[in-house]
């Protein structure tokens, strides 16, 4: 789990250019981390690549926060 969280956090920090300590479980990509809707699509693409998983569109739409992402990826990988 912590490994997944670290890797997801790294992607979010790199992609959105935010401070690492802002990337907490409840942090919403759009409301708290300044992402636009296209950024969220790109984050999902980056997660798919990093973890070698497929995230279908309907699942991708439920991934709104850092916590959502780690939870989904932990379950999927």
């Amino acid at each position: 789990m912590s490994d997944v969280a670290d890797r997801v956090r790294k992607i979010v920090v790199e992609h959105l250019g935010v401070e690492e300590d802002k990337v907490v479980d409840g942090a919403s990509f759009i409301d708290d981390l300044g992402a636009d809707s296209l950024d969220t699509v790109e984050l999902v693409m980056a997660f798919e690549e990093e973890f070698g998983i497929e995230i279908p569109d309907d699942a991708a739409e439920t991934i709104q926060s850092f916590g959502d992402a780690t939870k989904f990826i932990t379950a999927a990988s």
Binding site: L38, V41, E42, M45
Partner: protein, 245 residues
């Protein structure tokens, strides 16, 4: 001036007069080209003429699943799709009062829906690459209308609105989406017209002649180039002044 070396371009309708010329022009500028179309023979002939850096990718654009599969086939063959030219189009002309649902649906499906599917299919790769060029071949008729072509005009105007919307969404990622809108272009299709018919058309064109496929290809090359990176959501009208928009 325009160098496409290292870029991979997918061109639909490459078996036709305008599409074939677009493929030749992008290829001559250094691009690797994926030639798509329904008829395999002319595609093979064009690929043989171009030699290296040419791939034949047959696709029936009225088959949604085949269209969805095309971007991946093109990326597998060429390594990526950096440039997409949606040139393929059909007509099913009919006076509007007699227009059948299938005449409407066929034209919208092939001209507009397949363009949407291909744009969607190449977007992921372009987003990752932070670079992409989409050129959708619309028509003067999409802006002016034309009797007997309510379906065709709707499909071509639809391409313009769709292109502008996509252009908005992806502009910040280095991807441009534009249209080229040809007027009357001399192709095998217009060769069938009588001299009298041609004269009637030419009178309406300030330039006094039909355009050439090369002139459409040149506009496409520009929009596909690095130099056109600040041009997006635009429609480049190439019509000899027939409609000054």
């Amino acid at each position: 001036m325009f160098d496409l070396t290292g870029k991979n371009a997918l061109i639909t309708g490459a078996s036709g007069g305008i599409g074939g010329e677009i493929a030749k022009t992008l290829h001559a500028a250094g691009a690797t080209v994926g030639l798509s179309g329904t008829r395999v023979e002319p595609l093979e002939a064009l690929a043989a003429e171009l030699g290296e850096r040419a791939h034949v990718l047959p696709c029936n654009l009225s088959d949604g699943e085949a269209v969805d599969a095309l971007p991946k086939q093109a990326a597998d063959a060429m390594g990526s799709v950096d440039i997409l030219v949606n040139n393929a189009g059909i007509t099913r002309d009919q006076i509007f009062m007699r227009m059948k649902d299938d005449e409407w649906d066929d034209v919208i499906n092939v001209n507009l829906t397949s363009t949407m599917r291909l744009c969607r299919g190449v977007m992921r790769g372009m987003m990752k690459a932070r670079w992409g060029r989409i050129v959708n071949v619309s028509s003067i008729v999409g802006a002016t209308g034309n009797p007997g072509q309510a379906n065709y005009a709707a499909s071509k105007a639809g391409m313009v609105g769709m292109s502008k919307s996509i252009a908005y969404e992806v502009a910040s990622r280095g991807i441009t989406v534009n249209c080229v809108a040809p007027g009357f272009i001399a192709t095998a299709m217009t060769d069938k017209l009588t001299d009298e018919q041609k004269d009637k058309i030419n009178v309406q064109i300030p330039a006094g002649r039909m355009g050439t496929p090369e002139e459409i290809a040149a506009a496409t090359l520009y929009l596909a180039s690095e130099q056109a990176g600040y041009v997006t959501g635009a429609t480049l009208h190439v019509n000899g002044g027939m409609a000054m928009l």
